[in-house]
Amino acid sequence: MAGRTLYDKLWDSHLVTQRDDGSALIYIDRHLLHEVTSPQAFEGLSLAGRTPWRLSANLATVDHNVPTENQAAGVSAIEDPTSRLQIETLDENCDAFQITQFKMGDLRAGIVHVIGPEQGATLPGMTVVCGDSHTATHGAFGALAHGIGTSEVEHVLATQCLVAKKMKNMRITVTGPLGFGVTAKDVILAVIGQIGTAGGTGCAIEFAGEGIESLSMEGRMTVCNMAIEAGARVGLVAVDQKTIDYVKGRPYAPSGQDWDLAVAAWADLQSDADAVFDHEVTVDGTVIEPQVSWGTNPEMVTGVSGHVPDPQMIDDPIHRGAIERALKYMGLKANQSIDSIRLDRVFIGSCTNSRIEDLREAAKVVDGKRVADSVIQAMVVPGSGLVKEQAESEGLDVIFREAGFEWRDPGCSMCLAMNADRLGPGEHCASTSNRNFEGRQGAGGRTHLVSPAMAAAAAVAGHFVDVREWL
């Protein structure tokens, strides 16, 4: 019998019942909630007279809607009445159902995919779900983690289970070593550029190889975070000593005898040597350079030394049409060099890149420099209150402010522009977020996905530059 993949093991250990029709019930260890995708689920639960199956599995926070200025003023001071109501609704639901929540202003609050790992609420070997597609992030810990819709949020609340069908196994091996100045963000953008936005559809992707193993836990989170941009609901990295060291001592992590038991169990959280994958892809990590997206989906990406493609060179009419439409939307010309793209705004934040290492990388680049006059706004939005506190204790806020960056309170912010932070029509933004869809950061806004270091350098130069020359 062939060995099992990491995904196989996680699936097997969470299988409650396999039904004759091919569907299965799988058990959910951790359910993370936020204000946008939960209100209708709580309403459905109440209407049906149901209560949460296991309260301690749930952890909630507010992130999508929160203002990133003056959170200390409280929820009642939020200007947008619809945002305020949605946040108040989560507060009320969590109070009513007695679900643990980090409310706005709590030091532990922040982006749901930052706080889960930060608190040790995400653990190796768990199943983790959340009504948010970037739940794939938590797979960096060898956890089976994916986004769900609101009906499933209600289902998990009521049953602690999901109706699921097993995905296919895909392994993406990133060879190494990675080049100097190349980050996790560059790796995942290059992977998506290679396999496409639907390359992982229907699959759980395990990221492996020296290019992944060499990354820190935060880097691995960045990679798994964007598995969904490659079409896969699940991204995974095997557990190693880095995983265990990261988890140890966090508030929700096991301790004492539980810790020893857990560490022993986690040793098995890797694919067996003879495991068979349905799809295997190898990405040459040694040739990846800092990446910049030029189009309107994440596969429209190239290295910083590259150029915007020429649609006339594309034979397939559907593909050609998509590129033509993207260039028109982005206001770019065929064959234009990436370093000629000028920026109006710079955003450093999001569940992809708002952790302390991200902020350190960006601060290192801007230290002693100034944001270009042509850049209207450059902002740094830490992923959580604790990340913000840590950064301030290291003086990073001072570096950013002195360079002309705005230093904000935690939240999703301009990644999806549900709050007041957004692009104006036609504006180009160097953004450390995860999606460059039309209008994602504001109607008519033009997003270029990059790493924190690349965004920082672009803020200073006013256009894209190869940050490796600055390091």
Partner: protein
């Protein structure tokens, strides 16, 4: 409770794009609602209207984009959407199928769908139909003519039939098919396995006690 889907015969609106993401299906500003309804008027908001939309405004007075296919009078009253690869990619927002259904569409036909959107559709009685690239090409050719095309999507027989003898079959999970045909309450069904869930928890407490501490 899920809406039933048995069979739909209706006009087809062809939206000739791949990678249509959920941000386009229903832009983020409308996700601030705490209701399940009210999203249909903002389906494809950025493409459908020429002026920027915000929640709470009177959308009936906004400027319509005449070049967007949903605004083409030929397709008024359409109940089936035809699109290209990777429909519904991006965020997990269930507001996307809610908006599509509330607009009046009952089924979406495409060569492929993003996983989460696909899954969310079934929970609400919206049928995503996967046909081959060639079949979808044929349908785009048929739908793009002066006279709009009517198709029948039949879930029981898993068939799409239309003009000029068009006929194609599609696959669907048996569980999803049953749920759609009968409009079943999935939570109620899962709770029938409550004993199995409790048995799992008891076993798991032995294997991995740290996961189930209160």
């Amino acid at each position: 409770m899920m809406q039933q889907f048995v069979q739909e015969t209706g006009l087809v609106v062809p939206l000739d794009r791949s990678n249509i993401d959920t941000d386009q299906i229903i832009p983020k500003q409308y996700l601030k609602s705490i209701q399940r309804t009210g999203f249909g008027i903002n389906l494809f908001d950025d493409w459908r209207y020429l002026d920027p939309g915000e929640p709470g405004m009177d959308h009936s007075t906004r400027r319509i984009n005449p070049d967007f296919v949903l605004n083409d009078a030929r397709y008024a009253g359409a109940t089936i959407l035809l699109a290209r690869d990777n429909f519904g990619c991006g965020s997990s927002r269930e507001h996307a199928p809610w908006a599509i259904l509330e607009y009046g569409l009952k089924a979406v036909i495409a060569p492929s769908f993003a996983d989460i959107f696909f899954n969310n559709s079934f929970k609400n009685g919206l049928l995503p139909v996967v046909l081959t690239e060639a079949e979808v090409d044929t349908l785009f050719d048929l739908a793009g003519t002066e006279t709009p095309m009517t198709l029948t999507v039949d879930l029981q027989s898993q068939q799409v039939t239309g003009p000029e003898g068009f006929s194609a079959s599609f696959a669907i999970d048996p569980f999803r098919k049953t749920c759609l045909l009968e409009g079943l309450d999935e939570i109620g069904l899962s709770l029938k396995d409550a004993d199995a869930i409790r048995a799992y928890e008891a076993r798991r407490r032995g294997e991995a006690p740290w996961l189930l501490r209160d």
